[in-house]
Assembly symmetry: C2
Homo-oligomer: 232 residues x 2
DNA sequence: ATTAAATATATTGTTGACAATATTGATTAA
DNA sequence: TTAATCAATATTGTCAACAATATATTTAAT
């Protein structure tokens, strides 16, 4: 249980110092959890009332949500909650594949021995969690994100980390939530994670990148069929 | 001259319908051109006065600039123009390498024959421009960006296109401007562009990606030495 | 003289009112 | 009945004043 803590909702840990940021977090959760339905219209005065603030900071919150693609905005015409579709998710997964591939490469180059050790321990925990709570897909999924987040941090590339953690993972969480949990795949994923970690430990940049990309494009294949069944 | 037009300053072409967006464009230019110095403090009331608007829309403009990393912002403490350093540019180029590599792969898969033809014509123009205006580094550089922009568009990946065009290219332009033009390298770059275009025409996704990544990491090696001479 | 506390100033965060634009519904002409 | 025009309404954009927070300055104590 030591080492880097889980980063589920890192953003909400220390109360934001500003109304706009707190409201941003609230609305973000509400969108990801589906309490604000996909495609629904956002009316500033209504939301301001609902969250008990004035339109100023609410506007800032909306802009931030637009930034991470949870809301679509058109000047003078208002904003709507995003509508996830297969095409957009494909974009997300392709971007993720290339970015995380690079992150894995950089991690293999830059990760300290202590970090590598800690990463290995994390995977042991996951293995334990899988055999115990066989079926608790939620924890497995957040465990999965933990692994990927560690790689992103270890890459020491701020830009990539920010895009993955601030944007892409949010959209994937939302998609997962609204598609009623993807099938577990926990065992397969864990094995792949172990291989990636091993490549990093060997400082094999090339292999780490390839395995990470294969891991993600494999995940996409699964998600894709689910989405196609759902929407088409 | 037909086909996709040059996209230098696309954003400014049709006057934005809102004060905030117009001001965003103005400040963006001023930062990229160095009229607002790196690291300088941004005081909202001062800038509002300077650009002749109130603090409301100015604030929105600042948030947008924060979004594309031209401004750094700390709650309650204000904002400053970003300070480019070698480390940040390395992050940018690494992200760019992976994203554009993926874009080239997707382009090889999705580009229409007409687009491929048009891309080839673009490179002919560049060849002509190089032999004529041998030394006019500015046009060569914008030509370079044109090429990369076309690949990004052809990838049909909105997320990648947006990040490249809206964020990474801006920072690279700024870096280039403030480093007093990088050495031309025009001939080498053109040859590499031709190889990439050829791979795309052959629908060789693998090769297109590899060549694009090599092209960009090569560019970074050059930029890196320049920056290190400059800052260290 | 140096540090700490307290005060004053500057700057950002928030609010409610007003202006500009878009959307909706009603009215009229074909 | 349908299409087009106009008025009415709703919604976003902009502004200026006020509140909360941080920064700078002064004062007091050691």
């Amino acid at each position: 249980m030591t080492g880097t803590p889980s980063i589920v909702n890192t953003e909400e840990l220390h109360e934001s110092p500003t109304l706009a940021l707190r409201t941003f977090d609230s609305i973000k959760s509400d969108i990801i959890n589906g309490e604000l339905a996909q495609g629904s219209k956002i009316v500033e005065s209504d939301l301001a009332l609902k969250y008990g603030i004035s339109r100023g900071p609410l506007r800032e919150a909306i802009h931030r949500l637009e930034r991470i693609k949870l809301i679509v905005r058109i000047p003078h015409a208002g904003s709507r909650v995003i509508t996830l579709d297969t095409r957009m998710m494909e974009d997300i997964y392709n971007a993720r594949e290339s970015l995380e591939g690079m992150a894995a490469r950089l991690a293999a180059r830059l990760m300290s021995d202590a970090e590598i050790e800690s990463l290995s321990k994390l995977l042991d925990q996951h293995a334990a969690a899988i055999s115990e709570t066989d079926g608790k897909a939620y924890f497995q999924r957040e465990g999965d994100i933990d692994f990927h987040y560690r790689i992103a941090v270890a890459s020491q590339n701020q830009w990539i980390l920010e895009k993955l953690n601030g944007e892409l993972y949010q959209l994937i969480r939302m998609c997962r939530h609204q598609s009623g949990q993807f099938p577990s795949r926990a065992q397969t994923a864990l094995e792949q994670h172990r291989q990636i970690a091993a490549a990093i430990a060997r400082r094999d940049e090339e292999l780490a990148e390839i395995l990470m990309r294969r891991h993600i494009s494999g995940a996409w294949e699964i998600v894709k069929t689910i989405l196609e069944d759902q929407y088409d």
